[in-house]
Protein backbone atom coordinates (compact mmCIF):
# COMPACT_ATOMS: atom_id res chain seq x y z
CA UNK A 1 0.00 0.00 0.00
CA UNK A 2 1.06 3.57 -0.68
CA UNK A 3 4.11 2.06 -2.37
CA UNK A 4 5.57 5.21 -3.88
CA UNK A 5 5.52 7.10 -0.62
CA UNK A 6 7.11 4.75 1.91
CA UNK A 7 10.36 6.73 1.74
CA UNK A 8 10.22 10.52 1.84
CA UNK A 9 11.97 11.67 -1.32
CA UNK A 10 14.11 14.40 0.21
CA UNK A 11 15.08 12.47 3.34
CA UNK A 12 18.19 10.55 2.23
CA UNK A 13 21.20 11.93 4.11
CA UNK A 14 24.56 10.73 5.36
CA UNK A 15 25.03 10.39 9.12
CA UNK A 16 28.03 12.09 10.69
CA UNK A 17 29.35 11.14 14.13
CA UNK A 18 32.44 12.80 15.66
CA UNK A 19 33.31 14.29 12.30
CA UNK A 20 33.17 10.91 10.52
CA UNK A 21 30.51 9.69 8.10
CA UNK A 22 29.26 6.43 9.63
CA UNK A 23 26.26 5.67 7.48
CA UNK A 24 23.08 7.06 5.96
CA UNK A 25 19.48 7.60 6.99
CA UNK A 26 16.03 8.05 5.45
CA UNK A 27 12.51 8.96 6.55
CA UNK A 28 9.95 6.14 6.33
CA UNK A 29 6.22 5.65 6.85
CA UNK A 30 4.05 2.69 7.83
CA UNK A 31 3.03 0.52 4.86
CA UNK A 32 -0.34 -0.38 6.36
CA UNK A 33 -3.75 1.07 7.15
CA UNK A 34 -3.18 1.62 10.86
CA UNK A 35 -0.49 2.24 13.47
CA UNK A 36 1.51 -0.58 15.04
CA UNK A 37 2.92 -1.75 18.33
CA UNK A 38 6.67 -1.34 17.87
CA UNK A 39 7.53 -4.91 18.83
CA UNK A 40 5.91 -6.07 15.60
CA UNK A 41 8.28 -3.98 13.54
CA UNK A 42 10.74 -6.44 12.10
CA UNK A 43 13.17 -4.38 10.02
CA UNK A 44 13.77 -3.62 6.36
CA UNK A 45 15.00 -5.12 3.17
CA UNK A 46 17.13 -2.32 1.82
CA UNK A 47 19.40 -2.61 -1.20
CA UNK A 48 21.24 0.51 -2.36
CA UNK A 49 22.94 0.44 -5.76
CA UNK A 50 23.08 -3.35 -5.62
CA UNK A 51 24.31 -3.71 -2.03
CA UNK A 52 22.00 -5.26 0.58
CA UNK A 53 22.17 -3.86 4.13
CA UNK A 54 20.80 -6.48 6.54
CA UNK A 55 18.70 -5.86 9.64
CA UNK A 56 21.79 -6.17 11.83
CA UNK A 57 23.22 -2.86 10.52
CA UNK A 58 19.89 -1.03 10.77
CA UNK A 59 18.51 1.14 13.55
CA UNK A 60 15.15 2.84 13.81
CA UNK A 61 14.30 6.17 15.42
CA UNK A 62 10.74 6.94 16.54
CA UNK A 63 8.82 8.58 19.40
CA UNK A 64 11.58 11.05 20.27
CA UNK A 65 13.96 8.32 21.46
CA UNK A 66 17.50 7.68 20.17
CA UNK A 67 17.84 5.18 17.29
CA UNK A 68 17.35 1.59 18.45
CA UNK A 69 18.31 -1.75 16.93
CA UNK A 70 15.60 -4.20 15.89
CA UNK A 71 16.78 -6.48 18.70
CA UNK A 72 15.83 -3.68 21.09
CA UNK A 73 12.57 -2.89 19.32
CA UNK A 74 11.29 -6.44 19.46
CA UNK A 75 10.62 -6.09 23.18
CA UNK A 76 8.79 -2.75 22.89
CA UNK A 77 5.44 -4.40 23.57
CA UNK A 78 3.88 -1.26 25.03
CA UNK A 79 5.12 1.36 22.61
CA UNK A 80 3.08 2.41 19.61
CA UNK A 81 4.19 3.71 16.24
CA UNK A 82 1.39 6.09 15.32
CA UNK A 83 -0.02 5.78 11.82
CA UNK A 84 0.70 9.39 11.04
CA UNK A 85 4.31 9.55 12.26
CA UNK A 86 7.45 9.36 10.17
CA UNK A 87 10.30 7.26 11.55
CA UNK A 88 13.97 7.43 10.57
CA UNK A 89 15.85 4.37 9.37
CA UNK A 90 19.61 4.47 10.05
CA UNK A 91 21.97 2.20 8.13
CA UNK A 92 25.61 1.73 9.14
CA UNK A 93 28.04 2.16 6.26
CA UNK A 94 31.48 3.51 6.73
CA UNK A 95 31.92 6.59 4.56
CA UNK A 96 28.17 6.77 3.82
CA UNK A 97 26.80 7.15 0.31
CA UNK A 98 28.20 9.27 -2.52
CA UNK A 99 26.33 12.44 -3.49
CA UNK A 100 23.89 11.97 -6.35
CA UNK A 101 21.00 9.69 -7.25
CA UNK A 102 20.80 6.19 -5.74
CA UNK A 103 18.65 3.21 -6.65
CA UNK A 104 17.00 1.95 -3.48
CA UNK A 105 15.08 -1.33 -3.38
CA UNK A 106 12.95 -1.34 -0.30
CA UNK A 107 10.52 -3.41 1.74
CA UNK A 108 9.26 -2.86 5.25
CA UNK A 109 8.49 -5.83 7.48
CA UNK A 110 5.76 -5.33 10.06
CA UNK A 111 4.19 -8.51 11.35
CA UNK A 112 0.41 -8.75 11.50
CA UNK A 113 -1.06 -7.92 14.86
CA UNK A 114 -4.23 -9.95 14.34
CA UNK A 115 -2.99 -13.13 15.95
CA UNK A 116 -4.93 -15.65 13.88
CA UNK A 117 -2.67 -16.09 10.88
CA UNK A 118 -1.19 -19.56 10.48
CA UNK A 119 2.32 -18.07 10.52
CA UNK A 120 1.92 -16.09 13.74
CA UNK A 121 3.40 -18.56 16.18
CA UNK A 122 6.29 -19.42 13.89
CA UNK A 123 7.13 -15.77 13.29
CA UNK A 124 7.25 -14.93 16.98
CA UNK A 125 10.05 -17.49 17.31
CA UNK A 126 11.66 -16.99 13.92
CA UNK A 127 10.80 -13.66 12.34
CA UNK A 128 11.01 -13.74 8.55
CA UNK A 129 13.97 -12.08 6.86
CA UNK A 130 12.78 -8.75 5.39
CA UNK A 131 12.65 -8.85 1.61
CA UNK A 132 11.35 -12.40 1.39
CA UNK A 133 7.81 -11.05 1.00
CA UNK A 134 6.76 -12.76 4.22
CA UNK A 135 5.58 -10.51 7.00
CA UNK A 136 5.52 -7.44 4.81
CA UNK A 137 2.01 -6.32 5.72
CA UNK A 138 0.14 -4.58 2.94
CA UNK A 139 3.10 -3.96 0.62
CA UNK A 140 4.33 -7.43 -0.13
CA UNK A 141 6.45 -6.44 -3.12
CA UNK A 142 9.87 -4.81 -3.08
CA UNK A 143 9.51 -1.22 -4.28
CA UNK A 144 12.31 0.53 -6.19
CA UNK A 145 13.04 4.22 -5.67
CA UNK A 146 15.48 6.62 -7.28
CA UNK A 147 16.46 9.03 -4.56
CA UNK A 148 19.06 11.76 -4.42
CA UNK A 149 21.33 12.11 -1.40
CA UNK A 150 20.69 15.63 -0.17
CA UNK A 151 23.40 16.05 2.49
Amino acid sequence: MFDNFLIRKDSLKNVVEDGKVVGFKLGVRIADYRGQILSLHNGYYIKVDGVVYPREVQKFEINGKPPRTFEELKTCYYEHWNYDDEGTLYVEKEGGLEPGVHIIEFQQSILNAYGYRPTDEEWVKNPPVPGSGAGAGKTSNIVTYEIELTE
Binding site: F5, Y33, G35, N82, G115
Partner: protein
Protein backbone atom coordinates in the same frame (compact mmCIF):
# COMPACT_ATOMS: atom_id res chain seq x y z
CA UNK B 1 -27.11 16.32 6.78
CA UNK B 2 -29.60 14.89 9.32
CA UNK B 3 -32.76 13.18 8.10
CA UNK B 4 -35.53 11.04 9.56
CA UNK B 5 -34.91 8.28 7.05
CA UNK B 6 -35.09 4.76 8.52
CA UNK B 7 -31.98 3.76 6.52
CA UNK B 8 -29.28 6.36 6.98
CA UNK B 9 -26.12 6.73 4.94
CA UNK B 10 -22.73 7.17 6.56
CA UNK B 11 -19.06 6.87 5.73
CA UNK B 12 -16.31 4.99 7.48
CA UNK B 13 -13.33 7.34 7.40
CA UNK B 14 -11.28 4.25 6.57
CA UNK B 15 -12.56 4.93 3.04
CA UNK B 16 -10.18 7.90 2.86
CA UNK B 17 -7.13 6.04 4.17
CA UNK B 18 -4.79 6.99 1.36
CA UNK B 19 -5.49 10.74 1.18
CA UNK B 20 -5.24 10.83 4.98
CA UNK B 21 -1.97 8.85 5.07
CA UNK B 22 -0.45 11.10 2.44
CA UNK B 23 -1.50 14.18 4.34
CA UNK B 24 -3.61 15.50 1.48
CA UNK B 25 -6.62 15.61 3.79
CA UNK B 26 -6.57 15.85 7.59
CA UNK B 27 -9.40 14.91 9.95
CA UNK B 28 -11.34 18.03 8.99
CA UNK B 29 -10.72 17.24 5.32
CA UNK B 30 -12.03 13.67 5.47
CA UNK B 31 -15.05 14.70 7.55
CA UNK B 32 -15.80 17.42 5.00
CA UNK B 33 -15.51 14.85 2.21
CA UNK B 34 -18.02 12.60 4.01
CA UNK B 35 -20.42 15.50 4.52
CA UNK B 36 -19.94 16.46 0.89
CA UNK B 37 -20.98 12.97 -0.20
CA UNK B 38 -24.23 13.58 1.66
CA UNK B 39 -23.50 11.41 4.70
CA UNK B 40 -25.40 11.80 7.97
CA UNK B 41 -22.87 10.00 10.12
CA UNK B 42 -19.31 8.73 10.28
CA UNK B 43 -17.31 5.83 11.59
CA UNK B 44 -13.81 6.51 12.87
CA UNK B 45 -10.81 4.22 12.73
CA UNK B 46 -8.97 5.06 15.94
CA UNK B 47 -5.63 3.42 15.31
CA UNK B 48 -5.27 5.41 12.10
CA UNK B 49 -6.88 8.73 12.87
CA UNK B 50 -6.68 9.37 16.60
CA UNK B 51 -3.14 10.54 17.34
CA UNK B 52 -3.10 9.48 21.00
CA UNK B 53 -4.57 6.02 20.27
CA UNK B 54 -5.51 3.95 22.25
CA UNK B 55 -6.23 6.92 24.50
CA UNK B 56 -8.49 9.78 23.51
CA UNK B 57 -7.54 13.22 24.75
CA UNK B 58 -9.98 15.99 25.63
CA UNK B 59 -8.30 18.12 23.00
CA UNK B 60 -9.18 15.53 20.34
CA UNK B 61 -12.77 15.36 21.58
CA UNK B 62 -13.21 19.13 21.40
CA UNK B 63 -12.01 19.10 17.83
CA UNK B 64 -14.09 16.02 16.93
CA UNK B 65 -17.38 17.42 18.19
CA UNK B 66 -16.67 20.90 16.86
CA UNK B 67 -16.08 19.50 13.37
CA UNK B 68 -19.07 17.14 13.48
CA UNK B 69 -21.41 19.90 14.67
CA UNK B 70 -20.25 22.27 11.99
CA UNK B 71 -20.63 19.67 9.25
CA UNK B 72 -23.99 18.41 10.56
CA UNK B 73 -22.66 14.87 10.99
CA UNK B 74 -23.17 12.41 13.83
CA UNK B 75 -20.67 9.91 15.22
CA UNK B 76 -21.81 6.35 14.50
CA UNK B 77 -19.16 3.70 14.97
CA UNK B 78 -15.67 3.14 16.38
CA UNK B 79 -13.49 0.44 14.85
CA UNK B 80 -12.36 -2.26 17.30
CA UNK B 81 -9.44 -4.68 17.10
CA UNK B 82 -8.61 -7.50 19.49
CA UNK B 83 -5.12 -8.45 18.47
CA UNK B 84 -3.99 -11.35 20.61
CA UNK B 85 -0.53 -10.57 19.40
CA UNK B 86 -0.91 -6.92 20.19
CA UNK B 87 2.29 -7.03 22.15
CA UNK B 88 4.19 -9.84 20.41
CA UNK B 89 5.53 -10.74 23.81
CA UNK B 90 7.12 -14.08 23.04
CA UNK B 91 6.15 -15.39 26.46
CA UNK B 92 2.41 -15.05 25.94
CA UNK B 93 -0.56 -14.15 23.81
CA UNK B 94 -3.18 -11.88 25.34
CA UNK B 95 -5.47 -13.85 27.66
CA UNK B 96 -9.27 -13.72 27.47
CA UNK B 97 -9.19 -11.29 30.40
CA UNK B 98 -6.76 -9.02 28.54
CA UNK B 99 -9.00 -9.05 25.47
CA UNK B 100 -12.01 -8.34 27.69
CA UNK B 101 -10.24 -5.34 29.31
CA UNK B 102 -9.04 -4.06 25.96
CA UNK B 103 -12.57 -4.22 24.55
CA UNK B 104 -14.07 -2.45 27.58
CA UNK B 105 -11.60 0.33 26.82
CA UNK B 106 -12.86 0.45 23.23
CA UNK B 107 -16.48 0.59 24.42
CA UNK B 108 -15.66 3.46 26.78
CA UNK B 109 -13.77 5.23 23.99
CA UNK B 110 -16.76 4.82 21.66
CA UNK B 111 -19.01 6.40 24.29
CA UNK B 112 -16.59 9.33 24.64
CA UNK B 113 -16.66 9.79 20.87
CA UNK B 114 -20.47 9.70 20.89
CA UNK B 115 -20.58 6.48 18.84
CA UNK B 116 -23.48 4.03 19.22
CA UNK B 117 -21.50 1.05 17.91
CA UNK B 118 -18.14 -0.56 17.88
CA UNK B 119 -17.32 -2.81 14.94
CA UNK B 120 -16.24 -5.78 17.00
CA UNK B 121 -13.27 -7.82 15.84
CA UNK B 122 -14.72 -11.26 16.65
CA UNK B 123 -14.30 -14.90 15.72
CA UNK B 124 -17.37 -14.92 13.47
CA UNK B 125 -15.91 -12.20 11.23
CA UNK B 126 -15.42 -14.60 8.34
CA UNK B 127 -18.49 -16.63 9.23
CA UNK B 128 -17.72 -20.34 9.28
CA UNK B 129 -14.21 -19.73 7.96
CA UNK B 130 -12.19 -19.37 11.13
CA UNK B 131 -8.64 -18.79 10.04
CA UNK B 132 -7.07 -20.45 13.03
CA UNK B 133 -9.22 -21.92 15.74
CA UNK B 134 -6.51 -22.49 18.36
CA UNK B 135 -7.86 -20.67 21.41
CA UNK B 136 -4.79 -18.47 21.76
CA UNK B 137 -5.28 -17.28 18.18
CA UNK B 138 -8.89 -16.22 18.42
CA UNK B 139 -10.00 -12.60 18.77
CA UNK B 140 -13.21 -11.91 20.71
CA UNK B 141 -14.86 -15.29 21.17
CA UNK B 142 -18.48 -15.88 22.20
CA UNK B 143 -17.57 -16.26 25.89
CA UNK B 144 -15.82 -12.87 26.02
CA UNK B 145 -18.69 -11.37 24.01
CA UNK B 146 -21.20 -12.65 26.57
CA UNK B 147 -19.21 -11.13 29.46
CA UNK B 148 -19.09 -7.80 27.60
CA UNK B 149 -22.82 -7.60 26.86
CA UNK B 150 -23.97 -5.99 30.14
CA UNK B 151 -21.14 -3.47 30.03
CA UNK B 152 -21.92 -2.50 26.43
CA UNK B 153 -25.62 -2.16 27.27
CA UNK B 154 -24.87 0.04 30.28
CA UNK B 155 -22.63 2.29 28.20
CA UNK B 156 -25.21 2.47 25.41
CA UNK B 157 -22.75 1.15 22.83
CA UNK B 158 -23.62 -1.94 20.77
CA UNK B 159 -21.03 -4.48 19.64
CA UNK B 160 -21.62 -5.02 15.91
CA UNK B 161 -20.76 -8.58 14.83
CA UNK B 162 -19.51 -7.91 11.33
CA UNK B 163 -19.95 -10.79 8.90
CA UNK B 164 -17.43 -10.31 6.13
CA UNK B 165 -16.73 -12.35 2.99
CA UNK B 166 -16.08 -15.23 2.54
CA UNK B 167 -18.35 -15.57 5.57
CA UNK B 168 -22.09 -15.19 5.11
CA UNK B 169 -24.89 -14.17 7.47
CA UNK B 170 -26.56 -17.53 7.03
CA UNK B 171 -23.53 -19.84 7.23
CA UNK B 172 -23.80 -20.52 10.96
CA UNK B 173 -20.43 -19.01 11.86
CA UNK B 174 -22.03 -16.60 14.31
CA UNK B 175 -24.45 -19.00 16.00
CA UNK B 176 -22.55 -19.09 19.30
CA UNK B 177 -22.64 -15.27 19.46
CA UNK B 178 -26.37 -15.17 18.70
CA UNK B 179 -26.93 -17.85 21.36
CA UNK B 180 -25.10 -15.62 23.87
CA UNK B 181 -27.52 -12.81 22.98
CA UNK B 182 -30.55 -15.08 23.36
CA UNK B 183 -29.27 -16.61 26.61
CA UNK B 184 -28.67 -13.25 28.27
CA UNK B 185 -31.47 -11.34 26.55
CA UNK B 186 -29.16 -8.32 26.43
CA UNK B 187 -29.95 -7.34 22.87
CA UNK B 188 -28.96 -3.77 23.68
CA UNK B 189 -25.37 -5.01 23.87
CA UNK B 190 -24.86 -6.21 20.33
CA UNK B 191 -26.11 -7.84 17.18
CA UNK B 192 -25.36 -8.88 13.63
CA UNK B 193 -23.76 -6.57 11.11
CA UNK B 194 -23.64 -7.11 7.35
CA UNK B 195 -20.66 -6.25 5.19
CA UNK B 196 -21.46 -5.88 1.49
CA UNK B 197 -18.54 -8.21 0.66
CA UNK B 198 -21.09 -11.01 1.15
CA UNK B 199 -23.25 -9.58 -1.66
CA UNK B 200 -20.70 -9.23 -4.48
CA UNK B 201 -21.54 -10.67 -7.90
CA UNK B 202 -18.50 -9.47 -9.84
CA UNK B 203 -14.90 -8.38 -9.43
CA UNK B 204 -13.55 -4.85 -9.83
CA UNK B 205 -11.77 -3.30 -12.86
CA UNK B 206 -8.58 -3.26 -10.74
CA UNK B 207 -8.73 -7.03 -10.35
CA UNK B 208 -9.20 -7.32 -14.11
CA UNK B 209 -6.09 -5.17 -14.65
CA UNK B 210 -4.15 -7.41 -12.27
CA UNK B 211 -5.21 -10.52 -14.20
CA UNK B 212 -4.34 -8.90 -17.53
CA UNK B 213 -0.91 -7.95 -16.18
CA UNK B 214 -0.39 -11.62 -15.31
CA UNK B 215 -1.16 -12.57 -18.91
CA UNK B 216 -4.93 -12.94 -18.78
CA UNK B 217 -6.96 -12.38 -21.93
CA UNK B 218 -9.35 -9.39 -21.48
CA UNK B 219 -12.00 -10.93 -23.75
CA UNK B 220 -12.13 -14.21 -21.80
CA UNK B 221 -12.10 -12.38 -18.47
CA UNK B 222 -14.98 -10.24 -19.67
CA UNK B 223 -16.92 -13.37 -20.65
CA UNK B 224 -16.41 -14.90 -17.19
CA UNK B 225 -17.46 -11.62 -15.58
CA UNK B 226 -20.66 -11.54 -17.62
CA UNK B 227 -21.44 -15.09 -16.54
CA UNK B 228 -20.69 -14.13 -12.94
CA UNK B 229 -23.10 -11.20 -13.06
CA UNK B 230 -25.72 -13.43 -14.67
CA UNK B 231 -25.38 -16.16 -12.07
CA UNK B 232 -25.42 -13.85 -9.06
CA UNK B 233 -28.02 -11.31 -10.14
CA UNK B 234 -31.08 -12.84 -8.51
CA UNK B 235 -33.63 -11.88 -11.15
CA UNK B 236 -35.04 -15.37 -11.74
CA UNK B 237 -32.93 -15.76 -14.85
CA UNK B 238 -29.64 -16.66 -13.24
CA UNK B 239 -29.06 -20.28 -14.21
CA UNK B 240 -25.49 -20.81 -15.42
CA UNK B 241 -23.93 -24.13 -16.39
CA UNK B 242 -20.40 -23.69 -15.13
CA UNK B 243 -19.05 -26.74 -16.92
CA UNK B 244 -20.20 -25.20 -20.17
CA UNK B 245 -18.55 -21.93 -19.21
CA UNK B 246 -15.32 -23.75 -18.42
CA UNK B 247 -15.42 -25.55 -21.76
CA UNK B 248 -15.97 -22.25 -23.56
CA UNK B 249 -13.13 -20.58 -21.64
CA UNK B 250 -10.82 -23.40 -22.76
CA UNK B 251 -12.12 -23.15 -26.31
CA UNK B 252 -11.36 -19.41 -26.29
CA UNK B 253 -7.79 -20.26 -25.30
CA UNK B 254 -8.01 -19.56 -21.58
CA UNK B 255 -5.06 -20.63 -19.45
CA UNK B 256 -4.26 -20.69 -15.76
CA UNK B 257 -5.13 -17.02 -15.09
CA UNK B 258 -8.62 -17.33 -16.56
CA UNK B 259 -9.24 -20.82 -15.12
CA UNK B 260 -8.12 -19.74 -11.63
CA UNK B 261 -10.49 -16.79 -11.91
CA UNK B 262 -13.31 -19.16 -12.82
CA UNK B 263 -12.56 -22.10 -10.54
CA UNK B 264 -10.53 -20.54 -7.71
CA UNK B 265 -6.86 -21.06 -7.00
CA UNK B 266 -6.01 -24.69 -6.39
CA UNK B 267 -5.77 -25.75 -2.77
CA UNK B 268 -8.01 -23.06 -1.36
CA UNK B 269 -11.34 -23.89 0.22
CA UNK B 270 -13.10 -20.87 -1.27
CA UNK B 271 -12.78 -18.49 -4.19
CA UNK B 272 -13.44 -18.62 -7.89
CA UNK B 273 -16.42 -17.24 -9.77
CA UNK B 274 -18.24 -20.57 -9.97
CA UNK B 275 -18.04 -21.07 -6.21
CA UNK B 276 -18.78 -17.49 -5.28
CA UNK B 277 -20.19 -17.22 -1.79
CA UNK B 278 -23.04 -14.76 -1.81
CA UNK B 279 -26.05 -14.04 0.35
CA UNK B 280 -29.04 -13.56 -1.98
CA UNK B 281 -31.24 -10.46 -1.50
CA UNK B 282 -34.10 -12.66 -0.25
CA UNK B 283 -31.91 -13.87 2.62
CA UNK B 284 -30.70 -10.33 3.39
CA UNK B 285 -34.40 -9.41 3.59
CA UNK B 286 -34.99 -12.16 6.17
CA UNK B 287 -32.12 -10.92 8.31
CA UNK B 288 -32.72 -7.20 7.74
CA UNK B 289 -34.74 -6.45 10.85
CA UNK B 290 -32.15 -8.01 13.16
CA UNK B 291 -29.14 -6.27 11.61
CA UNK B 292 -27.83 -3.40 13.71
CA UNK B 293 -25.26 -1.91 11.33
CA UNK B 294 -23.95 -2.29 7.77
CA UNK B 295 -20.62 -1.71 6.09
CA UNK B 296 -21.12 -0.62 2.49
CA UNK B 297 -17.91 -2.21 1.24
CA UNK B 298 -17.11 -1.17 -2.34
CA UNK B 299 -14.16 -1.28 -4.73
CA UNK B 300 -15.53 0.43 -7.81
CA UNK B 301 -18.61 2.43 -8.79
CA UNK B 302 -18.93 3.42 -12.45
CA UNK B 303 -18.87 7.05 -13.50
CA UNK B 304 -22.62 6.99 -14.13
CA UNK B 305 -23.11 5.75 -10.54
CA UNK B 306 -24.03 2.20 -11.51
CA UNK B 307 -22.20 -0.81 -10.14
CA UNK B 308 -21.12 -4.16 -11.57
CA UNK B 309 -19.67 -5.45 -8.31
CA UNK B 310 -23.02 -5.55 -6.51
CA UNK B 311 -26.70 -5.37 -7.41
CA UNK B 312 -27.49 -2.30 -5.30
CA UNK B 313 -31.14 -1.90 -6.37
CA UNK B 314 -32.11 -5.43 -5.27
CA UNK B 315 -30.10 -5.44 -2.02
CA UNK B 316 -31.24 -2.01 -0.88
CA UNK B 317 -34.84 -2.93 -1.69
CA UNK B 318 -34.37 -6.10 0.35
CA UNK B 319 -33.10 -4.07 3.31
CA UNK B 320 -36.05 -1.71 3.00
CA UNK B 321 -38.62 -4.49 2.62
CA UNK B 322 -37.06 -6.44 5.46
CA UNK B 323 -37.35 -3.47 7.82
CA UNK B 324 -33.71 -2.54 8.34
CA UNK B 325 -33.36 0.60 10.43
CA UNK B 326 -29.89 1.96 10.81
CA UNK B 327 -26.78 3.05 9.02
CA UNK B 328 -25.08 1.85 5.89
CA UNK B 329 -21.55 3.25 6.16
CA UNK B 330 -19.43 3.26 3.04
CA UNK B 331 -16.23 1.29 3.40
CA UNK B 332 -14.36 2.14 0.24
CA UNK B 333 -11.38 -0.15 -0.31
CA UNK B 334 -10.48 0.02 -4.01
CA UNK B 335 -7.42 2.17 -3.37
CA UNK B 336 -5.58 -0.74 -1.79
CA UNK B 337 -5.07 -2.65 -5.03
CA UNK B 338 -3.80 0.27 -7.10
CA UNK B 339 -2.38 2.94 -4.82
CA UNK B 340 -2.24 6.57 -5.95
CA UNK B 341 -4.57 6.27 -8.91
CA UNK B 342 -7.99 6.40 -7.34
CA UNK B 343 -9.88 9.41 -6.09
CA UNK B 344 -11.39 8.06 -2.87
CA UNK B 345 -13.50 11.17 -2.29
CA UNK B 346 -15.14 10.77 -5.71
CA UNK B 347 -15.74 7.02 -5.33
CA UNK B 348 -17.49 7.49 -1.98
CA UNK B 349 -19.61 10.24 -3.51
CA UNK B 350 -20.64 7.97 -6.40
CA UNK B 351 -21.67 5.18 -4.05
CA UNK B 352 -23.81 7.59 -2.03
CA UNK B 353 -25.57 8.83 -5.16
CA UNK B 354 -26.26 5.23 -6.16
CA UNK B 355 -27.59 4.31 -2.70
CA UNK B 356 -29.78 7.42 -2.52
CA UNK B 357 -31.24 6.59 -5.94
CA UNK B 358 -32.04 3.04 -4.79
CA UNK B 359 -33.60 4.24 -1.57
CA UNK B 360 -35.60 6.99 -3.24
CA UNK B 361 -33.91 9.81 -1.28
Amino acid sequence: MKTNNPIKLGVSLYSYQEVFWRGDLDLEGVLTAAAGAGAEGVEIFGEAMIPSFPHITDEFLYKWFYLLDNLDLEPVCYEHFADRRYWKDTSRYLSDDDVFDLTVHYLESAKKLGCKFIRLSHDGHNGKFIMNDAHSHTVVNAQIFERLLPIAAELGVKMALEVHGPGLLEDGGNDDFLEALDRTGIYEGGGLMLDFSGCFRDCSPMQVDAMVSRGGNPEIIDYIRRMSRKAYTFDGNNEVDWDEVEAKVKEMGGGSVELDFLNGPKGRSFGGVRNRLITPPEVVKEYASQLIYIHGKAHWINEDCTCDEMDYPRYLQALKDGGYRGYISTEYEGQRSVPHTINEVELVRRQHILMRQCLGY
